[in-house]
Symmetry: D2
Subunit: 255 residues, 4 copies
């Protein structure tokens, strides 16, 4: 690929400024660490910029989105503060082909629920327990380069089923939690011309985005979600002239 | 089944009052013909009521929806006049388990696009051409009782690909059109606890809903979309106590 | 349904005669307990017969299969002793519309692997650990009547991912195991006109088939897998005459 | 990708030597034209070799398959002459990660039907009619670079539904035929670690494999089906030691 992928890393950037122990983990914000991870994983194949809630238009202007191949989304406490018009704009771009990586608590973001059509709620527990992510689609590009049947996070927030999403087109990871739950942690969807990946890991109170396996998966996912060169296939429209001849239209009822 | 299925047939009921040739085909409205079709197909297994756009709350009060197992939806020219709050209410009921049958131009209705997350647009042509619906999932209950590999409609409006929906969970019918297009005409989806079927046939200017195969499919679909006795599986919620013991939570970063 | 479903419960019936502790659990064979479970769950809606490996043609004659709507399969230690011609016969019946419920170690049976096209292997451990089956498709008829988000088996053999099956069309249960694994424990597939359900629980050394939730799921699954009244859609065949006119065939290359 | 993809193009190579009008179209065999197409599409990213039925072990020795990333398959009249042991070998390689592109009448090949688990039959007609392939997954990499909603083949053999395959994981093309049928013409499947694409066009009596859109799709498909760097995820095996502690195993029934 000669053109680098243009990725925008979006973060609500609230916890990191409000809570000291989050600030310690992510002093420049989760977005800064995610941007680093993408540069580490994709090198010269990627150009990363970041955007946050407090910027004008949340940093997601038409111009920025028009230059974004893949958008990653992290939000948790401020979903309601995201402007509906911006959400519509992001959705339109996804339908046009922009990839979207929804991370962790982005399950409840306006943009993700809007693209899914469901509530996207789940069970949770913040108890610092162990998580083991099992690979159930080992040949999927998003799992590429993982060296084992599973990988572990020593301490995480738990997300458990029932996760109220449409059945994923491809299920890539299932999480096991020490406290007794399971979760569909890596799920792909397509909407319009855009490709979407939901990836569970990432609570702000644990150093999840420094984990090498998590970073690898996010890098793979960005590559996978990149636009595929689909030409414009047209919005719905009237096609008055048939492509092939119609034998006899007969007396139309509406004449 | 001892309890009859409670079906609400919704119709915007505009064309039938505005256009004489539609009135001739459907003098009491498309909803009246659909209600008859369901009684014919399901007999004592069904209780049908109808609702239309002009009724208070479009006839879809909390009470009506609370007593509806399956809702069928027909709309075309007045999608925008459907109140957003009612759409939200219908969506909530679908997520809780109510079935939804979206008919023909309901592809562009607010409720269908909201549940899909996409634009749901398509190509069309109104030329009275022949349509042949091929069964590609012959053992699906929705195709039950069809006696041939396909069935035909002598004159219809054309709907053609690309149809901007998420990939259906089950694809049951593919239409061939005389003028050269194809279309995914019978598609199932699940959202929350609800089951959704999109079925293409049905333009108001042709007597489609008098066709015996179309009526059979709609009857099958209503049966298929009925709630399955799922108990309430709960909205997302915090589960502070683990189900199984957590060995050691360690020093939480947030202490 | 006026006609009762005709179910054949197949069991290799080896462990129960060879191992005293299995004999104690299933004195008349696993098939006898499964047959009881189906009668308990489906009552007058079902007619159950059993068949075992040692019978002539393994009890699966053309006549028996011709009168079987749904076949349940339990095998473990004697997969290789099942005659290939009988496997072909069962496969043919599934493609014609007979339902198949593959239980527990039937994952490695000839009939299941033949229908899947993959090795169907998995990880396992026999340590009497706890299993918790989470419902991830709460509105699926196979989960009908379960009263909670999950159900538990106090002591089971573990089956863990990677489970080498094609991605299920519908994933209904995911198991959590105390020892750290997860498993796709309830999976649907369609092949030809037949519907297939794989259900994990069932090791011969634990009283799994006496569990009320397990029995309920198997009963639901048999109902779900029943033939749907699909008429015969024909094997592949030449259709020399087009259904619609072909404008001009031009000079065929092969003349 | 620094390493070129290693592709083996397999052809039964019977018609081209037996029928003059096929020989005229494909004087060096269909495999030669397909090999050229891949070199044209993928350039330095690919190393192509060919193999045919009459070679020892059909040209598909352990060594050749061990060095093959993606195998394309064309067969029609001689499926039965392919040795079962070689078919097993190819299947094993697919499960290990080798991609497989099944072309046209390969729908009925031993390797394809074995991986599908179904009969894979269909309806057909050889009448030189027009085919129009509609793109129903415009953002799929296999459709990359196509410049229109559909592409046409002026004269082809017809393949029609019902096509007895498992529901594809992704449906990419649907064909419209002048004579009245439709067909799922581009379908993806995963089996084990391998990715499979079925692509309909290609009858030996028409110059299908010289068509630029067909060549583009086959090139895209080879790229898509390439192994993804999945490490070895292990065959099924016993895991006697749990990954996480098991609280109490209790009195095992089998002690």
């Amino acid at each position: 690929m000669t053109q680098p992928l243009r990725v925008t890393v979006w973060n609500e950037f609230v916890h990191e400024r409000a809570k000291p122990f989050v600030q310690k983990l992510y002093p420049d914000g989760i977005h800064a660490v995610l941007a680093d991870a993408l540069r580490e994983q994709l090198g010269a194949d990627v150009e990363v910029r970041t955007a946050t809630l407090d910027e004008p238009e949340h940093g997601l202007t038409e111009e920025v989105l028009g230059q974004t191949d893949v958008l990653t989304w992290w939000g948790h406490t401020a979903h309601d503060r995201v402007n509906d018009a911006i959400v519509d704009r992001v959705q339109r771009r996804v339908l046009e082909g922009m990839g979207l990586i929804a991370l962790h608590s982005a399950h409840a973001s306006k943009i993700f629920t809007k693209l899914m059509g469901t509530g996207c709620m789940l069970r949770w527990r913040e108890a610092g327990e162990r998580e083991r992510l099992w690979v159930v689609a080992p040949s999927h590009p998003i799992a590429s380069g993982l060296t084992h049947e599973y990988f572990e996070l020593a301490r995480t927030e738990m997300y458990g089923e029932f996760f109220d999403i449409p059945q994923p087109e491809e299920l890539i990871f299932i999480s096991w939690f020490e406290g007794g739950e399971v979760f569909r942690s890596g799920c792909t969807f397509r909407r319009g011309r855009g490709r979407i990946f939901y990836f569970r890991p990432g609570h702000e109170t644990y150093p999840i985005y420094y984990d090498s396996n998590v970073r690898r998966v996010i890098g793979n996912a960005v590559r996978w979600a990149a636009p595929t060169g689909a030409t414009y296939y047209g919005e719905g429209r009237n096609i008055p002239e048939p492509l092939s001849p119609i034998a006899g239209r007969g007396p139309a009822e509406h004449d």
